[in-house]
């Protein structure tokens, strides 16, 4: 697997992750690392997660499994069996990285503490991803994506103040933890080039989402202000917020100095006879105010002055709202972009797949599934170009135990007889 045209072709990763860390190993695998996806003998429980191909629940048809295990090879191994652990020990000696997401202390209880792995392979990097990290009073708390999004502050910032907080879609705590773990693992791999030794990378999902609180912590630290969710169905400042349209919603971000501003928007509305009285010079001082970045920020920090403006803002906002309501979201996107106005559609999966921009970026990536007799279209690379070592999905997710023979017999030199014995003992 030492493919010279891949970025991480010389790196082997043993993947013991569940949902919390499985995106970390996908990131490494799609950059060419040889990721050995280790599953219990009966298959990983992640295979039970839907949706499924044609909604047919089956361990080899989970789209969740497919999506997060691209470019990996798969072996079955029972770490709770002594023979399984012995084989794991042999694999550790061939590996550069182990990624695991067990509760703190579990690996140790199996005799697989970092210290032991390090004795077997001093260059090994062990990356541990848990809800709260390996140390501290909350290290043993039970966590899931939602609990981490709550404890990590993301939920307090998302949504409308009149509704209960919600978790962001797409398991963002798991994604964030996996991304940060991949960064930490790469830093450790880079450092190893100089030091020659590995290290333990401790990733807390909670800490992984904190940077995404944007300025909330700094608001509190510097000004004792608590940021909360401020979503509104009607934006306060016209042009900054969400608007309904004929087939969904658009998000408008007409901010001073970035793209065209209100003179262009009013012309656009005027061209369809929908500018109302906005051409009247009486509005000039309002345009001056809301097209000046600094003044706008000062206004946003001065509630009484902002309140005094609400009637004017509401009038402008109402006309814009009416103007946009009759158009489709893609129509608004095109017409706004032609005028360099920053209004974008709130896109769903279909919009993304059909978007000419995503098509130009070759976002969809075909992956063959011979067992299904078809090629499935996967979401593509986060980076669409790395000039000499392209991102790619090298293979579909592995079937249960698909590479047992390749790894155990061909690489480790176990005989078929030994493999049969290990299988009946429940070790692989």
């Amino acid at each position: 697997m030492n493919d010279r045209d891949t970025l991480l072709g010389d790196i082997r990763v043993l993947d013991l992750s569940d949902e919390k860390g499985v995106y970390c190993t996908k990131l490494l695998a799609d950059l060419g690392a040889d990721v050995l996806r280790i599953e219990p003998p009966c298959g990983h429980p992640m295979r039970d997660l839907g949706p499924f191909v044609h909604d047919e629940p089956h361990p080899e048809k989970s789209l969740y499994w497919f999506h997060f295990n691209t470019s990996k090879r798969g072996i079955t191994l029972n770490l709770e069996h002594a023979d399984g652990r012995a084989i794991f020990g042999r694999l550790v000696r061939t590996a550069d990285v182990v990624v695991e997401t067990f509760s703190p202390g579990y690996m140790e209880s199996l005799g697989l503490a970092y210290g032991t792995l390090k004795e077997w392979n001093p260059a090994l990097i062990l990356t541990s991803i848990t809800p709260f990290g390996q140390t501290g009073p909350h290290k043993d708390l039970a966590g899931c994506d939602m609990v981490v999004q709550a404890m990590g502050g993301l939920m307090f910032l998302a949504g409308f103040p009149e509704d209960p907080p919600y978790r962001l879609g797409g398991s963002q705590a798991y994604h964030s933890g996996s991304v940060q773990a991949a960064v930490g693992t790469m830093v450790a791999l880079y450092a190893r080039e100089t030091t020659g030794v590995g290290q333990h990378v401790d990733v807390s999902l909670q800490e992984s989402v904190l940077m995404s609180l944007e300025t909330a912590v700094q608001h509190y630290d510097m000004r004792r202000e608590i940021r909360t969710r401020i979503g509104r169905e009607e934006p306060v400042v016209p042009g900054i917020g969400m608007y309904s349209c004929a087939d969904g919603h658009v998000f408008s971000y007409v901010v001073a100095g970035f793209g065209a501003s209100w003179d262009v928007i009013v012309q656009w509305m005027e061209s369809e006879g929908k500018a109302g009285d906005l051409k009247d010079p009486k509005w000039n001082e309002v345009w001056d105010l809301i097209t000046n970045f600094r003044q706008l920020i000062a206004l946003a920090n001065d509630p009484p002055r902002l309140m005094a403006r609400l009637q004017q803002f509401g009038h402008i906002h109402g006309l814009l709202k009416e103007f946009l309501a009759g158009k489709t979201k893609q129509q608004i996107f095109e017409e706004a972009a032609a005028r360099r106005i920053m209004i974008v559609p709130v896109q769903n999966a279909k919009d993304i797949v059909e978007s000419p921009q995503f098509q130009a970026l070759d976002f969809l990536t075909p992956v063959e599934h011979p067992e299904l007799g078809r090629t499935l279209q996967y979401p593509g690379p986060p980076y669409y170009e790395i000039s000499e070592t392209a991102w790619r999905i090298s293979r579909r997710a592995p079937l249960v135990g698909e590479h047992n023979i390749e790894v155990y017999a061909d690489e480790l030199g176990l005989t078929r007889k030994q493999l049969a014995a290990l299988k009946s003992a429940g070790a692989i």
């Binding site: 939602m146 608590i226 979503g231």
Partner: protein
């Protein structure tokens, strides 16, 4: 602060990036030892320098934004007016003296500044170059600029977040700017740096921020391309757990200042919520024990996951009645004692000064900045046992390191520096 060798010591980054996603990526390099040289001027500052929160009483300054400072720890700043016709003489020299170049302009602006990888790589083949425009360098939308606030809706996350009956208002932040975009970029960039050690050659990395954003939607894209289904947002509910929600708790009822859509407003700290997640029947038994087995929890309709899913509205109402009489800390302690995933919906105060766990792990780092004083910075969310990174300095003031960079990195004479300052090419902060 302890001194140890950091992994990227000796790596120099010529950093044209501004606003958020790319600067957060270069922060990763800087906090791990790279010399990241940011270029801006008071004439054309990084716009985030003007954004809230600003140090009270110093709101007019360019060095007092907590937002900017947090994203630019460990970096230094060359005061260079990129719009000046002679600026290119300076940044060309800096590029040739660097290992990595990072820019996140729109392709239009990038071309105007003459920042084309090929031109420089021809002269310096070991150069690593990152373009991180919002939409990519190709395609019909390539010149449409924007922020994380529009990337989140464009990339599909807003549509999947929130309650089914409510509009897709999104994350409340420029979400993809802080972890997803910069983290994915850093993974590729560090891998390319590592490969360069072996091959001696640099590479060109291009990241389209919208594409990056659309890779973290779990199965939403695949479910559409395979099953033709458009996944919808479903609030806090998920298919394989119940209850799985956010519930109001007893408030503290004390004064505080809340940043609402109308700005900072006097409020009460009574917005307190918890989350509870019950994935299996064992956790349901734990949930019942934590509540002291009240009669409603013995209702046979709630005995199985299927039954709880079918009666979820009523279940959520009853759970909410219980949580309303407790603080989120009490709810969390009672449920966690029984092994049930539960937590506090923490606000920034909870996180910075009341979370004993985060404090014991020392995630937030306090640095002394000459204009903003002693203030909290996000630390490093991956703890490396042997080469832990460190925030080596607070964010730079604008032009703070002009003389240092010109003299020590570019080898310019005092006379040359002064001349460029007089001409308005360089600024000394």
């Amino acid at each position: 602060m302890e001194q140890g060798t950091l992994p990227f010591e000796g790596i120099r980054v010529c950093d044209f990036s501004w606003f958020a996603a790319a600067p957060v990526a270069t922060k990763i390099l800087a906090d791990n030892g790279a010399q990241v040289i940011k270029m801006e001027s008071a004439t054309h500052p990084d716009g985030i320098r003007m954004a809230s929160p600003l140090t009270p009483g110093k709101e007019e300054g360019l060095n007092v934004s907590g937002w900017f400072n947090n994203q630019n720890s460990s970096k230094i700043c060359l005061g260079l007016n990129l719009a000046h016709p002679r600026a290119k003489d300076v940044y060309d020299r800096l590029i040739m003296a660097s290992d990595v170049v990072v820019e996140n302009f729109s392709p239009r602006m990038k071309d105007r500044l003459g920042l084309n990888y090929e031109d420089y790589a021809a002269k310096k083949p070991d150069l690593i170059w990152v373009d991180q425009p919002m939409q990519g360098l190709v395609g019909p939308h390539r010149n449409r600029a924007g922020f994380g606030a529009v990337i989140t809706p464009l990339g599909g996350l807003s549509f999947l977040s929130g309650y089914a009956h409510r509009p897709p208002i999104g994350t409340g932040t420029n979400y993809t700017d802080y972890c997803i975009n910069p983290g994915q970029l850093a993974v590729a960039l560090i891998a390319v740096l590592r490969r360069r050690k072996k091959t001696g050659r640099g590479q060109h990395i291009v990241m389209a921020q919208v594409a990056s954003a659309a890779t973290i939607l779990e199965t939403a894209i695949l479910d559409y391309t395979v099953n033709g289904r458009i996944q919808e947002r479903g609030g806090n509910r998920i298919a394989h757990a119940s209850p799985h929600g956010c519930y109001r708790c007893r408030g503290e009822n004390r004064d505080c200042t809340v940043v609402t859509s109308l700005g900072p407003t006097p409020g009460r700290k009574n917005e307190r919520w918890c989350v509870i997640a019950v994935f299996n029947d064992a956790q349901w038994q734990g949930f019942r024990r934590a509540l002291g087995n009240p009669p409603w929890t013995r209702d046979p309709r709630f005995a199985t996951l299927l039954g709880r899913k079918e009666n979820e509205d009523e279940l959520d109402r009853l759970v909410g009645e219980w949580t309303a009489t407790h603080s989120p800390e009490e709810v969390t302690a009672l449920l966690q004692k029984e092994g049930v995933p539960a937590g506090i919906v923490q606000d920034a105060e909870d996180i910075l000064v009341r979370d004993p766990h985060l404090m014991s792990r020392g995630y937030y780092v306090y640095l002394d900045h000459p204009e903003t004083g002693h203030s909290a910075y996000d630390g490093i969310p991956y703890k490396l046992s042997e080469t832990p990174g460190r925030l080596s300095r607070p964010a730079p003031r604008i032009g703070e390191h002009t003389e240092y960079v010109c003299r020590e990195v570019l080898g310019m004479s005092e006379e040359d520096i002064n001349l460029l300052v007089v001409e308005g090419v360089l600024e000394i902060g």
